[in-house]
């Protein structure tokens, strides 16, 4: 109920303040050495954001924006993907040097450097209980690593093209991988058994999210956003599919269990959509990642990693509004 009220608030807020329907430029730009940033990750409470900036990782507080920490010396090449544990105890990074680096998020020291990947690491995720580390690479491999016991659990070679994204389900019992082979594989975390394969994209899969139990939302180079019902893993089915523009959809994120969805593409178009309303913005730069700031008490805020403008953070209310 509270969730529905929040969504309705989003709708009313825009209707009652017509000034917000104007295209706004009031966004925050985080200071980075490179203006090409491939990933971003908020801490679970949304107080800080981690940004992989070439070989290093910068952590900024969000309000007010200030550099809190810099993680250096772990990589000798571009970092492509990062993740912060739910309790903000560890940070994991991976990239072009094929190294997975596990950092102590508080002391900024390297806990462990893992070299089981033999290709560019494209995506990393930590399970909610901090037990598992999931990673995918450009050599079609997915690895599940036990962070507690410091041992590699499984090397998975089911995909036939680059792994573009890996993700754990909200309860951590499943994980999924998306690939250039157009498929999404869902696995059981306990034994790494393949539970289901989702086939519906006609081009590379770029992003996967678990907005709530029994659902997956995926996006890809076919410009499609597909919502899957996975309540029956023997027969997963497509609940809904729609297009966004004509370019590769490189970023999606969900807010409020998927009631609000942020979508961004390689052309720089951004859309925040709910059942009642739609906010759009055009950055004119390729978007590599979009993420809602968690636990935002006022209006929704998104952070966007781009090729060309670094990382920006903007209030959704400053985008162009349209009621549906």
């Amino acid at each position: 109920m509270i969730r529905r009220l929040l969504i309705f608030q989003l709708f009313l807020f825009a209707l009652l303040q017509p000034g917000l329907a104007q295209k706004g430029k009031n966004y925050t730009v985080f200071q980075t050495d490179s203006n090409i940033i491939y990933d971003i990750c908020f801490t679970s409470k949304g107080a800080a954001i981690a940004i992989p900036d070439q070989h290093n990782i910068k952590v900024y507080s969000v309000d007010p924006v200030a550099l809190l920490a810099e993680f250096t010396g772990g990589h000798n090449s571009q970092i492509l993907s990062i993740d912060i544990a739910g309790d903000s105890s560890i940070l994991v990074s991976g990239g072009k040097d094929s190294l997975l680096v596990v950092w102590d998020f508080v002391t900024k020291r390297i806990i462990n450097t893992l070299n089981h990947h033999h290709a560019i690491i494209t995506s990393v995720k930590i399970s909610l209980d901090n037990r598992f580390l999931l990673s995918g690479d450009s050599n079609n491999k997915v690895y599940l690593y036990d962070l507690a016991n410091r041992s590699l659990i499984k090397e998975i070679s089911d995909h036939t093209n680059d792994i573009t994204t890996v993700v754990f389900s909200n309860d951590g019992k499943m994980f999924a991988s998306g690939s250039g082979d157009k498929l999404i594989h869902i696995y059981n975390t306990a034994d790494s058994e393949l539970l289901a394969t989702l086939s519906g994209h006609r081009n590379w899969v770029r992003e996967i999210i678990f907005p709530c139990d029994n659902q997956i939302i995926s996006s890809g180079d076919d410009s499609k956003i597909i919502t899957w019902d996975i309540s029956n893993l023997q027969r997963p089915r497509i609940l809904n599919q729609r297009r966004f523009g004509r370019s590769w959809i490189t970023g999606i994120d969900a807010y409020q269990d998927g009631e609000v969805l942020a979508v961004a593409n390689v052309k720089g178009r951004i859309r925040i959509e709910s059942a009642f309303s739609e906010y759009t913005f055009n950055l004119n730069r390729p978007v590599n990642k979009i993420a809602f700031k968690p636990h935002e008490s006022a209006f929704m805020v998104v952070a966007i990693a781009t090729s060309g403008k670094g990382v920006i953070m903007m209030n959704v209310s400053s985008m162009n509004f349209r009621s549906l």
Binding site: L80, G95, D162, G180, P286, S307
Partner: protein, 204 residues
């Protein structure tokens, strides 16, 4: 993979007269006014800086003129060739200047057939001691190499335009003239279709 179609105009370079066994003849190719042509090409990127492909081109030339010589007045030449090609280019990026711009140099060996039509017979041709009928047309095998340098600009993710300058060297042997090789320069303009995007744009 890129598919391209190009239109080009060019001219022949070389001496107006050619010497064979102490006889001086007017050159055939070098006195053609110029040529126009069409080329199609398919290129596949094998690494961020290198593409390999194959193409085909057709060249048409006419309007032969040389001072008081009338040997090849009204002559025309057509050349059809296939050209495997090797292109070195800048790395594709999704940002700043390089997200739309392609700068390249290309080396393209070529293998083809040249057809020459003339209006008046130039040589008396003997075979087995007899004159043959006046020969007004000949087809001859030709081979050579072309070197292009140019640039492209992507209008959309799928479509781009390109322009390039090329120098070519051809070896040819026809019974209708004494030229055994010729050099060309040409200016190409065209469009290209990007059939597959750079999927690994983040980490190529």
């Amino acid at each position: 993979m890129n598919l391209s179609a190009e239109y080009f105009e060019g001219k022949f370079h070389g001496e107006d007269l050619t010497t064979d066994k102490d006889f001086v003849y007017p050159s055939f190719y070098n006195n053609l006014e110029g040529f126009t042509g069409l080329a199609i090409k398919a290129l596949m990127k094998t690494n961020p800086y290198l593409s390999l492909g194959i193409g085909a081109e057709a060249i048409m030339a006419n309007n032969w003129q040389l001072d008081d010589y009338l040997h090849y007045d009204g002559a025309e030449m057509k050349l059809l060739s296939v050209t495997p090609c090797l292109r070195l280019h800048n790395r594709y990026k999704t940002h700043n200047f390089h997200d739309r711009t392609l700068i390249f140099i290309e080396l393209a060996p070529m293998l083809g057939v040249v057809q020459i039509n003339i209006e008046e017979p130039v040589f008396d041709i003997f075979q087995d001691g007899n004159f043959l009928e006046p020969l007004l047309q000949d087809r001859a095998f030709t081979y050579g190499v072309k070197c292009h340098t140019g640039a492209g600009y992507a209008l959309t993710q799928l479509l781009g335009i390109s322009a390039s300058y090329a120098i070519g060297y051809y070896k040819v042997s026809s019974v209708l003239n004494n030229d055994r090789n010729f050099v060309t320069s040409q200016f190409n303009v065209g469009i290209y279709l990007k059939l597959m995007g750079d999927k690994r744009y983040k980490y190529q």
